[in-house]
Amino acid sequence: MKRIGIDVGGTNTDAALLDGDRVVAAVKTFTTADVTTGVRTALKDVIAKAGPAADDVVAVMIGTTHFTNAVVERRNLGRAAAIRVSLPASASLVPFCDWPKDLAAKVNGGIYLVQGGHEYDGRPLMPMDEKAVAEAARKIAADGVGAVAISATFSPLTAECEERAAEIVRNEAPDVHVTMSSTLGRIGLLERENVALMNASLIGLARETTQAFVDAVADSGLGAQLFITQNDGTVVKAEAAREYPVFSFASGPTNSMRGAALLAGIENAMVCDVGGTTADIGCLVNGFPREANNVVEVGGVRTLFRMPDLLSIAVGGGTKIGRDPVTVGPESVGYRLAQEAMVFGGAQVTATDIAVASGLIRLGDTSRVAELPKDFVAAALKKMHENIAEGVDRMKTDATEVPLLAVGGGAMLIPDAMPGISEVIHVEHNEVANAVGAAMAQISGETDRIYRDMDRDEAIAHAREAAIDAAVASGADRATVKVIDVEDLPLSYLPGRAIRTRVRVVGDAAAMRAEVPA
């Protein structure tokens, strides 16, 4: 089964065509201001390079940082109103209350608090004030605000209030787009609402971008289905991504780590991705990045996103190397490597120069670093090796030796051996690991709910069914779905043996499986 993965990064748009687990062709192109042109070029180039092998590509998977950048750079954002069903609770901390002021000013399309919501045990907190919801909907439409985020107390447990409120809004204001916070998961009203509001404000951009991707794929002449990669290393159909742009926020580093796993054929390993400025170290567990535990901020807004747990250290191809005493970074020449590095005619000793002088790589004018004292070169390399080894050790979670996958343009700076690492594996095509990761993405489903009066096994079984249903609804083939994470937390103080259970599952895309002859 053939598929094309595309990673639209800040600088490069990479594409890789895979046949099963094999990379048939890979290209690197520049990202364009309109994103679409870069995607068209990358698609055209990779198809041309693959030749007849590109004929039966069944899926194109695109990962993009476009939506994150929109929030971080405060551009292309639409206005979004907030309807929160929670009164009389939570009245003092209104929607947008913990947003950076400039971002809130740009996005806030009106705040409406109404009575209703639920308790932790599923009892209604208060009856929902349907009249107030209808009034809010009419006002939102009259204000010309195009999208609304609806949140309600304990909606991840029971979405009844949000669903009824959404129905009312659709009746009263059919042109207003609705995002329900319960569709974005997880306990934590403020953070869940923040994500819903961001989603609502990105809806216009998401529709436009997704349509551009759809057109680019259609124009390529491939009869392939389009998927968009998500934060957790999985994909959704383009139609779903159009509705939930926030799920595509952090796909870059995730795709890179997933790609490294595929290229090496290893599912449990450390990954060290050495770029121009930093080395990003992460940990692969069952083929997926281990996630950070802390609250993740995007553009200054607290969210519940699950992002890969990465340690960034200042070792990259452009890292400045000092003498007397020997220092490594933290400054980097960055994108000016091609002018400032010694091997390229510059005057600054960089990590790349040390790599060339050590014979690790042939690049530029090697004679320009021939004069560097041997003990200085050795000391600088030793220091970089030590920094990387220390970072890897910090990110490891157990004492067992595991392999380390070396990826990125600066992978030659990674030492061949370090404590706690069984072997260092330099994988082929590592420069397009992110596009490979996009191509191999699967479809996920997740639940996070509180169960009462159930024993632990029963609660987990229920949660697993709900997660699998969610994955299938997103386009996964039920037969291939497997559980990759189970977490349960007994809740103190709550009566009736309450247990909070989170289950995450992944499976292959059903559309792609259908192409495999029975």
């Binding site: 939570s90 003092s92 932790y120 306990i187 940990c283 747990d309 979670t397 007994p490």
Partner: protein, 373 residues
């Protein structure tokens, strides 16, 4: 014992700055020893109150008149419910007004039941709303889960009356209870019924009682702790060292969490976290047991810190406190011991909050020589 307690007379009455409040939230979370709930929502409320021109005033407990009436405030319930039903200053004020009406007298000041976690910030919301000064003291010096685990309970002071408010129009007064334990049991039942979150005003205290039996200067201690951590973060220096630099605390361990086990029994979140050593502690293992808060820590099998000494688990990089409900595999943590308030070192104190009160068959030994019983 508390070096932070030394204050000059000019500071007996001071308006807290917005920065003080930020620091208080960080410090209170550290002193929460894993419990008491994340102060974030209460901090947000304080930011809004400050933006609206209000502020909280901190007073030295020693300036209280003996017959002053002090409201002891807390939010009661499950931290998880607090993530969906957000803290609200008006709601925190309700039981205060109920108590005043019940007693037929206004409060002169308010104070925290516990400095640890969100409840350390709780009375500040009421102070900012009403103008009541907040006493620089609490009754735990940390966070504990139950009503009888306070300095005033250990001292045998009266446990009633107690007022409790729901966000709906439900108000509950507990005029009398046979003991602190009975007050805990009965009020907990009511709290559960109204959604496992309630604003409460505990048995009021006189100025004399606060001066004699309160854990004094715990608010300034939390602010000082938070200030140092925030400074270390801004200057990119080690926040753990910053905490140690201004307390008589000790670093017990540094490592990464390799296993977390939790179970809920009798209304508590119990369990343990296994931490594998890093840096100077490489090759060693610490196991920290918890019952809502961290209670006993074992180093390579031997108990090395136990309640009432404070066991603080902090994020090694940020210095942020880590709650027992968000402990997770892979976190890099430092374990610190801080000395217990002296009130808990007596026979009665240890009976209420010593290791045996949490089901550990251990005789209390302190990390700190001067605290040895």
């Amino acid at each position: 014992m508390t070096t932070l307690a030394q204050r000059s007379p000019s500071q007996t009455h001071r308006t807290l700055s917005a920065d003080d409040i930020e620091a208080l939230a960080v410090g209170a979370w550290i002193l929460g020893t894993g419990g008491g709930g994340d102060p974030y929502h209460k901090l947000l409320n304080m930011r809004l109150l400050y933006e609206a021109g209000r502020s909280a005033t901190l007073i030295d407990p020693m300036t209280l008149a003996d017959d002053a009436l002090v409201g002891v405030l807390s939010n009661m319930g499950a931290p998880l419910v607090g993530q969906e039903r957000l803290a609200d200053p008006e709601f925190a004020l309700k039981p205060v007004r109920m108590m005043e009406e019940y007693l037929g007298r206004k409060f002169d000041a308010v104070m925290a039941l516990e400095i640890g976690g969100g409840n350390g910030v709780h009375p500040m919301m009421v102070g900012a709303l009403t103008g009541y000064p907040v006493v620089d003291a609490d009754t735990m010096g940390r966070a504990y889960p139950e009503a009888q685990m306070t300095s005033v309970a250990v001292a045998g002071l009266r446990c009633y009356p107690l007022t409790m408010a729901d966000i709906r129009d439900n108000e509950i007064i507990f005029p009398r209870a046979a003991s602190w334990r009975w007050m805990e049991r009965i009020s907990r039942k009511a709290c559960t019924e109204i959604g496992s979150v309630a604003a409460t005003c505990k048995a009021p205290r006189t100025g004399a009682e606060v001066k004699q039996h309160g854990v004094l200067y715990s608010v300034s201690k939390a602010i000082a702790l938070g200030t140092e951590v925030l400074r270390a973060r801004a200057e990119h220096t080690d926040p753990i060292e910053a905490v140690l630099s201004i307390t008589s605390g000790q670093r017990m361990f540094t490592g990464k969490i390799v296993d977390v086990e939790r179970r809920a029994t009798e209304g508590f979140l119990r369990g343990k976290a296994r931490i594998e050593g890093l840096d100077a502690f490489a090759g060693k293992e610490m196991v920290v047991h918890f019952q809502n808060e961290y209670s006993v820590a074992y180093l390579d099998g031997a108990p090395v810190v136990m309640t009432p000494d404070l066991i603080c688990l902090l994020d090694s990089v940020s210095g942020e406190g880590i709650g027992t409900d968000v402990l997770r595999f892979g976190q890099r943590v430092s374990v610190l011991a801080l000395p217990a308030p002296s009130v808990f070192l007596s026979e009665q104190g240890l009976a209420a909050v010593g290791p045996r009160a949490f089901g550990f068959d251990l005789d209390f030994t302190s990390v700190f020589k001067e605290n040895q019983a």
